[in-house]
């Protein structure tokens, strides 16, 4: 055994944040070491420094006892470090073998020895039990196989230290199981693995030791056997996890949103949402729980008119609004907080005031009847919302890109709620947002429910689902597998269903051990 890697007092300052603040990290030979923390805690930065993608400001890296300077990925590769990125680093038009050997090609004279490349890839893939067709085109592979190619890329280069950055984020539960098997096999062959994740259950299932980061600082390292879910959660978040939102029991009114057998296809014609029927009533929050990528995004975008409903019907207060444009939907009383504020929710170069009218910019009183914008009204509108939602800094003319994530999200939430929508759709409303803003956003959503809006909430955070919802639906593989009142929803049960468990089986199996492992 012995340490293959030591990182000492690594510090990295980005223009706006201190990403790593004197972080220590070490890796034993042949262990799986989980590196955990919430989004933005600095785990990816730390490993990017190790792989030579970022330069540390200070600190030391020691590999197998030798101090090293890693200025480029090439240096890291030479030190037998491999990294599997969250966003795959694969070249689509090339084949599997070509991707794997890229940068370390096998030559015959001045030419590529393609045959030998294929053989070599086959050899490694059999050796580690990672089955793949070396001559397949990347564009034709599933996500799970793409990840396999990434791991093979590292192994081909002789990686003894393997870093995996959030490897399960994009995988189906079955693929996660496969990945874990692969990792255990690699470990058995002596590979040392750093496993970056923010999912506690994965830590417990796979790792030997765990290091927790929070806001760029190391909180601690423990053997996995000496810790548990609650303990890790507290280390990650810094306080008891369950966010308590003050709310009265719901007083549901008439039905506002009704989905009848809604299906949505992606641009390749694959079914993403399969025959979903749901109903949300005025004065209640319906939460949709699910592992990301199970069709939630497509479902809400289809309701909002940003994706086509391929079959089925959407009704808003009894009106058929199937495949209405976003503009008509808005006019009909729909508010929508999109999951990605930078991509959808904001025009970052626009001022706070201009962002606060995005989507209602053409309504009275923001334009007059000749199409000219009424600057005074727009500013007045902004000042009101800035004060009510405590958006900082509070200058309406400030460009939105200069605000923090939490304040940017407040702009989106403020704008959508300010229209007092009959139906409020919130998709990942607190992603990448600081704790203070989370609480404020949660309170506004509940207040809007109490005003009589129907709220459809989609979140990958179970805590958020559990603390805001009055009813919970679970989405898996494009289908709603179960809908239950909040009283019946436990983290355990939702987790079981989110991973593809059958609702009836949950009753039968009771507390099944398999859930904790997955």
């Amino acid at each position: 055994m012995g340490k293959v890697l030591e990182m000492r007092a690594i510090t990295k300052q980005f223009p706006r944040v201190l990403a790593n603040d004197k972080v220590d990290f070490d890796l034993e030979s042949g262990e799986i070491h989980a590196l955990v923390g919430e989004n933005g805690s600095g785990k990816s930065t730390l490993m990017s420094i190790l792989f030579g993608l970022y330069q540390k400001d200070s600190g030391e890296i020691i590999i197998r006892g030798e101090p090293v300077e890693i200025k480029e990925p090439r240096h890291a590769i030479d030190l037998k470090i491999g990294m599997v990125f969250q966003h795959f680093m694969l070249v689509e038009p090339l084949t599997v073998a070509e991707n794997i050997v890229l940068g370390a090609e096998i030559r015959k004279g001045p030419f590529l020895d393609y045959k030998k490349m294929v053989q070599e890839v086959e050899r490694i893939s059999t050796e580690y039990g990672l089955k793949i067709d070396p001559e397949a085109k990347i564009a034709d592979l599933s996500v799970g196989l793409l990840q396999r190619v990434e791991i093979l890329k590292a192994l081909y280069r002789g990686a003894e230290i393997l870093i995996l950055d959030e490897p399960t984020a994009v995988l189906t539960p079955q693929e996660v199981d496969d990945l874990f098997e692969v990792l255990l096999a690699l470990k058995a062959k002596g590979t040392s693995i750093v496993f970056i994740t923010h999912k506690i259950k994965e830590v417990l299932a796979i790792s030997d030791r765990v290091t927790v980061l929070r806001r760029g600082r190391k909180i601690g390292t423990k053997p996995t056997s000496e810790t548990n879910e609650q303990d890790l959660a507290e280390m990650m978040v810094g306080r008891v996890v369950l966010l308590q939102v003050k709310k009265e029991p719901a007083k549901p009114g008439p039905e506002v949103l009704r989905l009848e057998n809604v299906s949505v296809k992606d641009k390749f014609g694959r079914l993403r949402v399969n025959n979903v029927s749901l109903s949300v009533r005025s004065g209640e929050v319906l939460g949709i729980a699910g592992v990301e990528g199970n069709g939630q995004s497509e479902l809400v975008e289809a309701i909002a008119g940003l994706k086509r409903v391929s079959s089925g019907k959407v009704y808003l207060s009894g009106k058929d609004i199937t495949n209405w444009s976003p503009r008509r939907n808005r006019a009909a009383g729909m508010g929508f907080v999109p999951e990605d504020r930078h991509r959808r929710g904001l025009v970052l170069d626009y001022s706070v005031a201009d962002n606060l009218v995005l989507g209602i910019h053409g309504d009275q009183p923001f334009v007059n009847r000749y199409g000219f914008r009424q600057q005074d009204e727009i500013t007045r509108h902004a000042e009101g919302l800035i004060e009510f939602y405590d958006i900082r800094p509070g200058a309406p003319a400030q460009a939105a890109k200069h605000l923090s994530g939490g304040n940017q999200q407040k702009i989106v939430v403020a704008r959508e709620i300010s229209q007092n929508p009959e139906l409020l759709i919130c998709s990942q409303p607190t992603r990448g947002v600081d704790v203070g803003a989370i609480e404020s956003i949660h309170q506004r959503v509940i207040a809007q429910r109490d005003q009589g809006s129907a709220v459809l909430l989609v979140s990958a955070e179970l805590d958020e689902i559990l603390s805001l919802s009055d009813r919970v639906a679970v989405m898996y593989n494009g289908e709603i597998v179960s809908v239950m009142p909040i009283e019946e929803a436990t983290e355990h049960k939702l987790g079981f269903l989110m991973l593809g468990g059958h609702p009836e089986e949950y009753q039968k199996s009771g507390v099944s051990g398999s859930v904790d492992q997955a």
Partner: protein, 346 residues
């Protein structure tokens, strides 16, 4: 630091100024190479372009078409479109203007506006081909605009040497009727009322982009099309509108050339006016006021260039070299920021 600086208006002016200074510095290397004194050459350039009212008038006359093409390119940039096709739109606009100018016999107050309008329509329609292919089929507008430049060039070539040939040995049309010509305002220079039109159009462009709902939507599409879509703004419609307006503005440059300068269509009359529009737009930071100023600078360089030949041994193409260099440097904001030791935020 950078964030604060960037919000200051002077910084918007500083970058283009540095680009111009760098280009002139390198240009002086060329002047030295041919054995002349750069200061003397630049002095001549300056006095010959801005040293007298008459020279200023000539400079403004040279600047006028660049104001239109600059506005055209800048407008498209604001909508997220790179209209490198102003050259072709200018030709199509020019042809439409010459056609109206030749064909109709109307009182001036109808004839002239009609010819100008025709040029706008001609440019707008031509630009709309690239706009349509972008909006409906997602084909990048740059390549299509380049291709359309050449197609317009050869199409007008054919029209002017074929069906609309003036009859002389020169490849040009007959002259337009006097009732369709723009009035010269500073004889003997060829400066016309088009300069007023250019300033007015710049003001209109400003109002459209920053004071109307349409402008809000156009800019939103340019900055973040997905957010625009989310906000109920039709991306494809605004791309079409943006490209059409841009083409109409380029068409105005054609109108100016025909109705003000040449009074007939001479094949390939445009000396890269459309491409220079790209330079003018970038140098003017895609702002109408900046575009007007940048066009005047380019107009000054061009109007002073003849004097270089006359009074020095520096070939007048020095000006083309300097214009090319200015484009290099305005595009290289990153370089200039580093030269000024200004850090970029992440």
């Amino acid at each position: 630091m950078w964030t604060k600086l960037k919000s200051l208006p002077w910084y918007e002016v500083l970058l283009p100024l540095v680009a111009v200074v760098l280009a002139l510095l390198i240009g002086s290397g060329f002047i030295l190479y041919v054995g002349e004194n750069p200061l003397e050459a630049y002095r001549i350039l300056f006095t010959e372009s801005l040293g007298s009212m008459r020279n200023i008038a000539t400079t403004l006359q040279r600047a006028t078409p660049l104001m239109f093409t600059g506005l055209a390119v800048a407008f498209a940039f604001r909508v997220g479109l790179f209209n490198i096709g102003a050259e072709g739109q200018l030709y199509m606009g020019a042809f439409a203007a010459v056609w109206v100018g030749i064909t109709f016999d109307l009182p001036r107050f109808i004839h002239l506006p009609l010819a100008i309008l025709a040029a706008m329509v001609g440019g707008a329609l031509w630009a709309s081909i690239a706009g349509y292919l972008k909006a409906k089929l997602g084909v990048h507008e740059v390549i299509n605009s380049i291709m359309l430049n050449f197609i317009a060039l050869f199409l007008t070539d054919w029209l002017v040497t074929g069906p609309f040939h003036g009859g002389s040995w020169v490849p040009e049309t007959v002259r337009i009727k006097p009732s369709a010509t723009l009035t010269r305002i500073y004889l003997p220079t060829r400066l016309t009322t088009a300069i007023y039109l250019a300033v007015a159009v710049a003001a209109v462009v400003y109002v459209i982009l920053w004071r109307t709902k349409r402008g809000y939507e156009l800019r939103a599409v340019g900055l973040n099309p997905e957010a625009a879509e989310y906000a109920g703004i039709s991306v494809s419609r605004n791309l079409l509108i943006g490209m059409a307006i841009s083409g109409a503005l380029a068409g105005l440059a054609g109108a100016e050339q025909i109705l003000g300068l040449h009074n007939r269509f001479i094949v390939r009359f445009s000396s890269d006016l459309g491409f220079m529009g790209v330079a003018v737009a970038l140098l003017g930071k895609n702002h109408p006021v900046g575009v007007l100023l940048a066009a005047v600078l380019f107009g000054a360089l061009q109007s002073g260039s003849a004097a270089l030949d006359r009074l020095t041994s520096v070939p007048r193409e020095l000006i083309t070299i300097i214009q090319g260099l200015i484009i290099f440097f305005v595009a290289a904001e990153y370089l200039i920021r580093r030269l000024l030791r200004l850090k970029e935020d992440a």
